[in-house]
Amino acid sequence: MPAIASRTRSFVPPKSFRTITEAAPVRWTLIAIGVGFLVLFLLMPLIAIFYEAFKKGAQLYLATFSDPYAIDAIKLTLTVAAISVPLNLVFGLAAAWAITKFTFRGKSLLVTVLDLPFAVSPVIAGLVFVLIFSTTHGWFAEPLKAGDLRIIFALPGIAIATIFITLPFIARELIPVMQAQGRDEELAALTLGAGGWRTFFHVTLPNVKWGLFYGVVLCNARAMGEFGAVAVVSGNIKGKTSTMPLYIETLYMEYQTVSAFSLATVLSILALVTLLLKNFIEWRSAKAARH
């Protein structure tokens, strides 16, 4: 099999192949539409963010980051990511493992449910958690009140909503990778006397590390950027439950445009770094696949 694969990879189509399908005007039109959309809808907003942030000079830009509320928002966002990403890492690995390596009843249901956070509006997701965990009218209102536990309008609620929203990212990245690799290497480890943990850490994990890393990067980006669900469960209390995206909105509503856009650059840089990492990972795993 690998012998065949390497042979097909070394096949380079002759130059005439590349243009044989469409005439030049068709090609240029398609390229123009594609590039035009990208500039209009992706590149321009990005430039606008940085333009607005630096419009009144670097001094004012930097001043944003000495605002104690902004620092609190950044801290809260980092805390939420630090809670939700590791939990989703464990869940993603377990779910991808179960889906790709075993057959069990309810497997297709699990695969479907996994996509639920993509399908449900984040605001609805937030409302559902309010409904469940609210201390005044939630399902668990009594025990929560008795134990003096706050979930909604507090860090746990924000973390729960974020975990829900970012649930599919890691599993979705891992499933195709694990599916492509099959079970043979794990079975080989088994016949060689390795136990489950050894097999996992020495065989399975190294094989999926790039997919996993990419999943984590995406999951993290979304965890830091989530607005809708978090807005509903957090109550958006400045300095307490206001995450970066929420605080950006608050600033904007208060006509503090420069501060809002300055903080937005942090999230934008995160997005750009994510894209760079994505490209780096794809390059790395393509290199690994070539081997």
């Binding site: 690998p2 012998a3 080989a188 016949t191 060689l192 020495h202």
Partner: protein
Amino acid sequence: MSIEAKNIHKTFGDYNALDDVSLEVPDGKLVSLLGPSGSGKTTLLRILAGLEYPDPEKNSRVLFHGEDVTDVAPGKRGVGFVFQHYALFRHMTVEKNISFGLRALPRDKRPSADEVRRRVNRLLELVQLDGLNRRLPSELSGGQRQRVALARALAVQPRVLLLDEPFGALDAKVRKDLRRWLRTFQEEIKITTIFVTHDQEEALELADEVVVMNNARIEQVGTPQQVYDRPSSPFVIEFLGNVNRFRAGLGTPSDDSKGVLYVRPHDVEIEAAGASEHEYAMQARVLHVFSAGNYGRVALERLGTHEQFEAEVSRERLRQLHITSGDVVTVVFRHVRLFDHGRYTEGEVRHGRLVPYDIA
């Protein structure tokens, strides 16, 4: 070490993969499980390895050297298993791949790092890959990967070697070389070995004993010569090599036999029309002559019944015959086999009749 499988049953849902299969493999033998895909051969191999469990309610047993290992985990059975697509650990070097089993041993049984290195080098020598310690699997050819897989399986000093279609993913030339190599190798280290294949040529060339499987059952067990020369069923004769198949008898007036008649292409002799009229089996029309290859092949169509069949003749004979498509020739069957409702007769054809051999 001897291997014994007793009354193995295995179903996957509604699908019957193995139906009461029993098999004994004596110590030190090289045995091939031969059959078409879906015959259950790989499932049987995996059950022997412990990678698959037989149906629990049927009292299927696997014994190694008389000891029941049915419920023993694969890692504790002392089997070396080689997968069809090698299943090498892709991110580990050749060295790490081979030493994996040694490094996975419990601490008190694990050899020292020096000892591990020595053993790896010895194994690499054994599989003729010395010096490739630091390569990644991706930097090796298919044949080399297969040998690394073999070395990895042997590193834990298994009592039994199980190979699943070991040459299936290799191209024809490498396959042939590796096959010969494995034969000598197995004779050297004398380890009981079972390999699965769907390639009859491979099974006949390599194995001490061939187990022919079909439809979740074993059809026949025997030496390569036994299964080729004394096939126990129409399936075996059809699966092992090319064979011409004729319904009913020979079609000549004096012939009254029914059933299915088999003639190997190399047992078909072609003569010019009318050459030996009193002993001929039948007349046939030449459809095609294939003269490229080690021997000539002639596609023929029997006059009257339009049954098509094939003859293998030496290239020299083909030149002498001087036949082309459309010619009518006389065909003599040197050796035929007749399966008639479970009764098996073997013999030659004389005067349009099947004359059985005197099988002592």
